[in-house]
Amino acid sequence: MTNLNNFKTRLKIAKDKLKSSSKNIDNSGNNSSMGSAFKLSTDLVAHVAVGTIIGFILDNWFDTKPWLIIIFFFLGSAAGILNVIKTAKKMQEKE
């Protein structure tokens, strides 16, 4: 019986450990710094490109030729820069 209790407490300790370790969400892996460099550079470009494409599609829909593409180009740039700032903030928090 003591053996079983012993096992139960050990199981509880192990489960608690698992819970606490899964709570702190960070990806400070071994080579994630170069990975996040790749991520940041392509993210910036992709945001601008997607913003411009959305503007182009909406322009074709509403027949407002040059205006929405201009607006969405800037919105895409803003989204890209905002995303970089957010990621940088997250990286700083980790350190």
Binding site: S21, I25, D43, I54
Partner: protein, 244 residues
Amino acid sequence: MATNPMHQFQVHRIGPEIKIAGIDLSFTNASLFMLLSAIAICGLLFLGTREKKIIPNKFQLISEMFYNFIAKMINDTAGSKAKPYFPFIFSLFMFVLFCNMLGMLPYSFTVTSHIIVTLLMAIFIFIAVTVIGFLKHGLGYLKLFVPSGVPIFLLPLITVIEIISYLSRPVSLSVRLFANMMAGHTMLKVFGGFVISLGMLGGWLPLGFSVALTGLEILVAFLQAYVFAILTCIYLNDALNLHH
């Protein structure tokens, strides 16, 4: 023609032409290398899990290493709620890694250097994550686009920006992998061409570059597979643990 650096990316048919309902479904070199990497993954994992020893042999060691690597990555980035998605992320990582690594062999074909392959994977991930998000949180998943603590007059602008940012996920995910693989392989081929054209006298410098670039490309091949998998985990984390 063989010195053309883009020649290596050409898809050509192997065997007979198969057409079903007007769609060309022939077996190409791209499908051959996808099949080869799938077979290589299955072979490695089969050899690794055939006999479970306390002191592992090489195959078992490698398979266990991959397993632990991905399990730790999922746990660290997406938390314990993402455990059910382990098989998906594991197969994704292994497939991208093996396609990249098989592409590093001379005379082989790099499947991931074609944007249609990476874009298809990225769009699948994007749709899957969106569906998971709506299934877990219902319409509350739309809160992802409305960050808290923003002044009311800025809210429409921020929402549009957040939507653009969400829609650009598959684009950046696919373009990153495709561009890195294609640029790297083109560069290798260009420097290889320099070695031939400069001959015995001047060819040593580009040869040295080629050797160094091969090492770099192997690192990039691994790193891109890692980034692809970890970003899938991050997107999954957004869908599972909604907080802003």
